[in-house]
Subunit: 348 residues, 2 copies
């Protein structure tokens, strides 16, 4: 790092840039509509998603959208089955979507190549339309987040979420009302940065924590945990609320901080029994969610009112990104360049 | 617990019973062959798996078998999309397999009911043929592990793995050679119980650890982490070797113990670059795997020679079960009855 550069300055700038990125995506949806029309015309019967790291959480969000709003069976591909084990499945009537910020990971490029050769309709969703992944794919969609400098992905993640949301919406002929106010809500969330800096103090010395959510917001829990791991080196574990009750609940006690995501809607309601069990365990629960869920937690942050559940993950991650940033700085790390990581991870 | 009962006695007995359970499954495969023939006759084009907790790791193993040996696209169902969000996907040509020890979780019963109504061929794999899940399903397969008393599932897990392996093998007309010597190898692994008790001392005071593997053995990593969480309350995190490099590697240092599973074969070979990166991070890596991988780790335990990779997970989990048992006892917990858990978990 050149002398005089502040640790985390790229991550801070990119976190704050998000409402502007969303504004840009919302303002010009021609390419998204064009791709959506081409996907719809092929009438896929199954949807497979392939991704790694942060992009895998955008893929997980898309899996819920496919299953719930398209009512199609979906799966997350284990790339090694194709790349290492050499499986060559029959993939006609399958839509295969690869999601990657850089578009450079060799295993994803190979997955798209094999998927295409096996008859799948292939789509790459990347932040680089000139990348090998975008080139290998029959169709490609640029998330237009702009260059991302911090190793910890932030604006590319929410740009992936919004792009995938709009794509799947247009594919089924829906209207984009739910996403219109995103930039405004995003700025409201970012205005709480000062509160997040104080909240980070609660976790300053924590060695571990648990993040939990259900439904669409499960992707938020997974991404929040990864962000905390890669920037603050904390042992952050994400569980779906249901899976938490099937075992990991045993390790929860007042010394294991829990972060819960409980927005309005179906997924949030499904978290209420989980919240009750966490109370029995006398857990410290910090909730990012609706006012009533926050009121029945140890502490929390209320999401803007009127946000539809299916777009809520785009907003929910912002406080976690700010928390990760503040916590990393407090703990002496540089979230722009976490130890041992580089911006493009190449796995085979 | 009645006075005079030793903590962990059920778990210890059930861990040791596993080779006998496998012997029983291998000795009479009529029912498995019958179900396999019925599945094959329907020629499914897509396989969905639904499960929670330990059974979800058996489902993950089955997903790899489906993708690699059947070359069919597969997915793990998010049950809430059907049960809470009310999605009603078109599921003809889909095989839906639910895996559950108890066969009692309401969300899985509902998933099978909805799947069946939507045209899927449904199969329940349970340890109780009279359970609501087995009854709701068109087909059901009893894993015949016998009553499991410890809350931490052990023998039911490996019975699920072996049953699913044989089922998918017979479904494609394969021969069961790879599994024949399982009981003998299992006894060899269990004979190392003393070594595991000593190894448990290494982790006596650890607050966190990471388990990693790739391919078929990724299921082992996930199940090992869950076993350690629910019995020893340790923050155990499982990552596929590839995903570890996409972020979580940043939190690895000499103070975060790593447990790696590196058997002979494709998945094990794909772990070698991961092992190299862990070395760069000066991580303490304990490997359960082939002799050469163990030799290049900090410490380890060698798997029997000649085990085919696709059945290796059935053996690999045994040392982790023993480790979880010894560690729980050393830390003053009772693995037969972890705090806050009961044998049947009911999630909606």
């Amino acid at each position: 790092m050149p002398i005089g550069e502040k640790p985390g300055r790229h991550m801070a700038a990119e976190v704050n840039e998000q409402p502007a990125v969303w504004q840009r995506i919302l303002a010009d949806q021609r390419r998204i509509r064009e791709i959506a029309a081409r996907l719809a015309a092929r009438r896929p019967r199954f949807v497979l998603l392939a991704a790694r790291g942060t992009s895998d959480h955008a893929a997980l969000y898309a899996k819920y959208l496919v299953e719930i709003t398209h009512e199609l069976p979906a799966g997350l591909v284990s790339p090694s089955t194709l790349t290492s084990y050499g499986a060559r499945p029959r993939l006609d009537e399958v839509l295969l979507i690869a999601v990657s910020q850089s578009g450079h990971s060799p295993d994803l490029v190979r997955t798209i190549e094999i998927g295409r050769a096996q008859g799948a309709l292939t789509l790459a969703v990347t932040n680089n339309a000139a990348s090998p992944l975008a080139q290998a794919s029959e169709l490609n969609l640029d998330i237009r987040a702009g260059v991302e400098r911090a190793v910890a992905a932030t604006k590319s993640y929410t740009a992936q979420l919004l792009t995938l949301y709009l794509l799947l919406l247009h594919m089924r002929g829906g209207e984009g009302r739910a996403a219109e106010r995103m930039p405004e809500w995003g700025r409201q969330m970012l205005d709480q940065g000062g509160a997040l800096a104080r909240i980070a103090e609660r976790y300053r010395f924590a060695e571990r924590l648990v993040v939990t959510a259900r439904g669409y917001s499960y992707a938020t829990a997974r991404e929040a945990a990864l962000k905390l791991m890669e920037t603050s080196y904390i042992a952050a574990q994400a569980f779906s609320g249901a899976d938490l009750l099937h075992g990991p609940l045993a390790m929860i006690d007042p010394l294991v901080p829990v972060l819960a995501v409980i927005p309005e809607g179906v997924g949030g309601r499904a978290m209420l029994p989980v919240l009750a069990r966490l109370k029995e365990a006398r857990a410290d629960v910090f909730t990012i969610g609706n006012a009533s869920a926050v009121a029945s937690s140890s502490a929390g942050l209320v999401l803007p009112e009127g946000v539809a559940e299916e777009v809520s993950p785009i907003l929910e991650i912002l406080p976690f990104q700010m928390l990760a940033l503040h916590l990393a700085l407090a703990r002496g790390a540089d979230p722009d360049a976490p130890r041992r990581l580089s911006k493009v991870t190449e796995t085979l």
